[in-house]
Subunit: 356 residues, 2 copies
């Protein structure tokens, strides 16, 4: 169903982004980057949850200098997030950053940008041009107005101008993001940008909000874009522990049929017919599959009569009610068990299936 | 940006659905419908959270008979969800249901369906044709195979056949749903359906899963469809308290620029630059705005330097760090306050703005 927009391939460290490469799930730490232990520990938690590239804030020289120690202890490609200060960008690359996120236009003028680009070239570092509502140049805001869903021009023109600054210096290991907090401005902006450039695009909605509100905004905006074939890497920003971004990011990719990670659970919303504690069962099954690797489909249903039929596409499922539990496979009843043994028997069967 | 697919208008009780009417947010209780107090109490909680139409399961005659007592105590239009049993459908309507959800094809044959349709006509009741993966007729499954994103035909043909059964009896106060648990099957199914019929469409992903997983699936599938102008009413199914569906449903509509309900919060994901407990601040502000009615945009930012600029489209915002807090309006600093007074002063200012 999805025809992916053709982009160039760049590499961040060994990781390819763009072209036919998998759409990469990334995140950013919220630790103090100078605290190497805390930062490494968060990066390892992110990696275990599926993160494939990680960005850290570099606020001062001490943070830049800590990158080497961080990189030595992690397996993910490391990107330094830098605002305004070209010296920090150069230092970050000297200390092992495999990517930097900057706005070339506000790094302090052409000479300083030249130093950043030279360092990127000599260290083989990729640059993300990261434009957002707050970084748009004043003349573009005057000409185009603040970006709206109908007129994302200021964001797009700012990105193109920043790309141009790098290209003028012969640099093209670039990916691009234009983040807005409004999902529809994000959608129209990336659509316009994808018609203007073939650099890989980093998708995200900025300042998306808390777990549920942010999940909705990111899922709607990134869902529409990825379904149209736009986007080569994504970050789901939530005002929450960054590890919580991972199930959302993979959930979006899975919903679109693009990528999956581990078993999928379908569970019914419960209704007046439900005669079993489905919320608890569903949570327990979710917890059990979190560490599984296979792509089996698991159903948790509240209704012995309708459950197996409604979830017949599930590889394995349970349904319960009125003290009887059933386990079914592909819509056919596999075993009947007493309700109080249902979860244990089911998890055992699930584990066998995952490992087979 | 959105050109809405043209559908007929039907009414469920006094509530118009379809045409140019607002896209209606609905839900379903998970109480025992015979327990009138519990059901009414959940419906009132749903209404307070923004629910505009509510469905209850009718499993037996006692449940059907309790509908009158429920309807007497609620303000929302009431729909009865019925499987297989035409007598329950007729009884539900006699006891005040303003809509029924059935599958005309499995209600027990033409004579029984005739009795249901006659009751619907005489009581002015709308019928939702509710097709899902589990209700597809065997001959359609044989001919088209199980519905997939590429071939949703069995679902769509089943819906058209069920619509036809009602139309043959001169009944056309119909809305239609075709629910699959796979988001892309949902998307391709509704797209195909919207080309075949102009009855209003009820959108939903069935068995979507728990809070986060279900929110992602519903946001992606319903986001794509509503953005294409497809859908007249929606239900977000979560394996959770149905009240939790409401912020997700309104979040989807708001993300698409279709409808909003109360203030919107943007909040930054926090990064190594954050020097304030933003998760707590964000939660407190979310709690405060939940009861507000105005459509102001509120920003909660972790960074005094970048916050006001990045969130300049917000009507009011706060940012903090290193024991200084600021309150800004439309990107301009409005007040500086000590960090420990920031939340209280901000909430007071927010309340004034909401009421003005």
């Amino acid at each position: 169903m999805i025809e992916r927009h053709v982009t160039r391939i760049i590499h961040v460290g060994p990781l390819p982004i763009g072209g036919d490469s998998p759409i990469i799930v990334q995140s950013m730490t919220n630790t103090d980057t100078r605290d190497v232990d805390a930062t490494v520990s968060q990066i390892q938690a992110l990696a275990a949850a599926g993160c494939e590239l990680v960005r850290v804030a570099v606020l001062d020289m001490a943070a830049a200098e800590s990158l080497r120690a961080i990189r030595d202890r992690i397996a993910l490609p490391l990107v330094a997030d830098i605002h305004f200060d070209s010296r920090l960008a150069v230092a970050a690359m000297e200390h092992g950053a495999q990517g930097v996120r900057i706005n070339p236009g506000n790094i302090g003028g052409r000479d300083k940008l030249r130093r950043v680009v030279d360092a990127a070239k000599s260290h083989g570092v990729a640059i993300r041009v990261g434009v957002n509502s707050g970084s748009i140049e004043k003349d573009l805001l005057r000409r185009h107005g603040f970006p709206t869903p109908e007129k994302p021009h200021a964001l797009v023109e700012s990105a193109m101008r920043n790309i141009g600054l790098l290209e003028e210096m012969g640099f093209c290991t670039i990916k691009v993001s234009i983040k807005a907090s409004d999902p529809m401005t994000t959608v129209s902006g990336y659509r316009a940008l994808s018609r203007r450039t073939d650099y890989p695009l980093h998708l995200g909605v900025t300042e998306a909000g808390g777990l549920v509100a942010g999940t909705v905004k990111s899922s709607v905006a990134l869902g529409i874009l990825l379904h149209e074939g736009i986007g080569d890497t994504l970050r789901v920003s939530l005002t929450a522990d960054p590890v919580e971004e991972m199930p959302v990011a993979y959930g979006i990719l899975r919903a679109l049929g693009i990528r999956s990670r581990g078993p999928e659970i379908v569970s019914c919303p419960t209704c007046g017919r439900t005669r079993i504690d489905l919320f608890t069962l569903s949570r327990e099954v979710e917890r059990a599959v979190a560490t599984m690797k296979s792509n089996i489909k698991v159903a948790v249903m509240g209704c012995v009569v309708n459950g197996p039929g409604e979830a017949r596409e599930a590889d394995i499922g349970l349904a319960g009610g009125n003290s009887v539990g059933i386990i079914f496979k592909k819509g056919k009843i596999f075993r009947k068990v007493a309700e109080d043994e249902l979860l244990a028997v089911f998890l055992e069967e699930l584990k066998k299936m995952d490992q087979s």
